[in-house]
């Protein structure tokens, strides 16, 4: 039985193929852009190609992410919060807290043994509480998003970026740049500022180890480090966590499929 999980995010989209609810067969990723139907189709095709399968081999498609309604041929849609929690639990079975940071906002959830969400919060929109802020900073400071993390890690004296509003925070960064504060210190400060907001959200659901980070920010080592420092403990990490929501969707799809078959038999 093969289920597909598609995550159509505000910034990036992912696809996962899962066999029997246990084995990851293929992964694919790409920026979302503005044509969400197209990106979903392309990702699915590319995942299928890398697994050497065809569309007919897929028994069930579960879609998540804010563009979940743009893929018409879905069998199930779930929100990215539910999906990311399941994905995190799949990869790290002892997870109790999941932090899923997307471009626009961050979602913290507390999950039970089965991966079901007990409580969740999202960052207030009115705050630099998502990865999009870091993307902007990467742009103004003219370092690529990929190098932002590694460069920030070299900082010895991160500057505090105190403003809560993203609009003001951006001005503050530009102002720091004009004052020729070392770039790595600004970048680390920006990471810490997002961590500060996100931490507050996590705190609102109650922090319990183990904490698993999912979404695009797992690829930003400075964010991970700043977060671990704030937390005072390790985060679960693995490159697959980038795909957690797609994975979680595929997994939930598999469960649905079982249920359906069980009823049908």
């Amino acid at each position: 039985m093969i289920t597909a999980g598609l995550d159509i995010g505000t910034r990036n989209s992912r696809a996962i193929l899962l066999e029997d609810g246990t084995k990851i067969l293929a992964k694919a990723r790409s920026p979302t852009g503005y044509d969400m139907t197209k990106v979903a189709q392309e990702l699915l095709a590319s995942a299928l190609a890398s697994a050497g399968l065809t569309r007919a081999d897929i028994d069930y498609v579960a879609v998540t992410g804010f563009g979940r309604y743009r893929y018409e041929e879905r069998d199930l849609s779930v929100t990215e919060i539910t999906a990311a929690a399941r994905g995190a639990k799949f990869l790290f079975p002892r997870t109790t807290c999941v932090l899923d940071v997307g471009a626009g906002n961050a979602r913290a959830s507390k999950v039970d043994e089965k991966g079901k969400i007990v409580k969740f919060r999202s960052t207030e929109k009115c705050a630099a509480g998502g990865g999009g802020f870091l993307e902007k900073i990467a742009f103004y400071s003219q370092v690529g998003l990929e190098s932002l993390g590694p460069l920030a890690l070299t900082s010895k004296n991160p500057v505090a970026i105190s403003t809560v509003c993203s609009v003001l925070a951006e001005s503050e960064v530009i102002n720091l740049i004009t004052q020729e504060v070392p770039l790595e210190d600004i970048l680390m400060g920006a990471n810490q500022s997002v961590v500060g907001r996100v931490y507050l959200t996590l705190k609102q659901v109650g922090i319990n180890p183990e904490v698993t980070l999912t979404g695009g920010l797992v690829e930003n080592p400075a964010f991970v480090k700043a977060f671990e420092t704030k937390l005072g403990s390790k985060l679960n990490s693995s490159p697959d966590l980038y795909y957690a929501a797609a994975l979680g969707a595929a997994y939930l799809g598999h469960r649905r499929l079982l249920k359906r078959k069980g009823v049908g038999a």
Partner: protein, 273 residues
């Protein structure tokens, strides 16, 4: 005194672009220049100044007075003094369009509405409060997220026949909202135009604070965006003054201030650096 002409320079160190303008001793615009500000503002301003002189074929010794403006104005090491971009935009706009009574400056970091008198002096001004920040940067951000260039955004948005409503006041929320509109299947050009409409509405709110007296001159980088000009004109129900030069109003105003300053202080021993 040698027979060489005297010049005056204005450097506008903005958040996105650094602009320069050079005027002669009669106050006529001689040359302009523009370049990305980047992360080193000192270098950027020096470079802009050098470029300006080179393009005009003028030597540094011929420039009698330099005024810096814009966010980076205190970082302009070679200037004689600084004036805020509010006064500079007013002066520059008035120089280009002497009938100007209201100036709308939309730049990368903020938007300003300025009321000026018949001499181009600032009578009243308002700047966006943060929660209503509708600036060029926002359009740029949306363009980047959607993988489009600034040019494409401006032109595409002009094709819209049925703009969607982007109602959030805050630029941060508006960004999410535009994507949601796409997620619900709205056409790209309609969403793009919706962004323009929403920023235009906020700017008009700002204009209303100072009062809308014709003629209105639209300055700053965004004045080069045809989509925004269309939106503003539609909503205001009147024409705006714009030209390729309105992008340089800040720098031009600074250069004109430099000339005035110099004339007021000649004989007092102050000279160019």
């Amino acid at each position: 005194m040698q027979a060489l002409r005297t010049y005056f320079a204005g450097i506008d160190a903005g958040s996105t672009y650094t602009k320069g303008a050079l005027v002669d001793d009669r106050g006529a615009l001689v040359e302009t220049t523009v370049d990305m500000t980047g992360i080193n503002i000192v270098t950027a301003t020096k470079k802009a100044y050098a470029q300006l002189l080179e393009k005009a074929g003028v030597s540094e010794g011929q420039v009698a007075y330099v005024i810096g403006t814009g966010y980076g104005r205190y970082r302009i090491t070679f200037g004689n003094t600084q004036v805020t971009e509010i006064s500079c935009h007013a002066k520059g706009a008035h120089a280009l369009f002497p009938g100007t009574r209201t100036v709308l400056d939309m730049g990368g970091q903020d938007t300003k509405a300025i009321r000026v008198n018949d001499r181009g002096e600032v009578v009243d001004f308002c700047m966006n409060d943060k929660c209503a920040a509708g600036t060029g940067r926002f359009i740029e951000g949306s363009a980047r997220v959607l993988g489009l260039s600034l040019k494409q955004v401006g032109t595409l948005s002009m094709n819209s026949s049925n703009p969607v409503k982007v109602s959030s006041t805050c630029a941060v929320f508006a960004e999410t909202e535009t994507q949601e509109q796409l997620a619900w299947g709205n056409k790209l050009e309609d969403v793009l135009y919706g962004i323009h409409v929403s920023i235009a509405t906020r700017s008009i709110g700002l204009l209303r604070r100072v009062g809308i007296d014709p003629e209105i001159t639209f300055t700053g980088g965004v004045s080069q965006n045809p989509g925004m000009i269309r939106c503003l004109e539609e909503q205001l129900g009147q024409k705006l003054n714009t030209s390729p030069l309105t992008n340089f109003c800040g720098a031009l105003g600074a250069a004109l201030f430099a000339r005035e300053k110099y004339e007021n202080t000649t004989g007092t021993g102050r000279s160019a650096a």
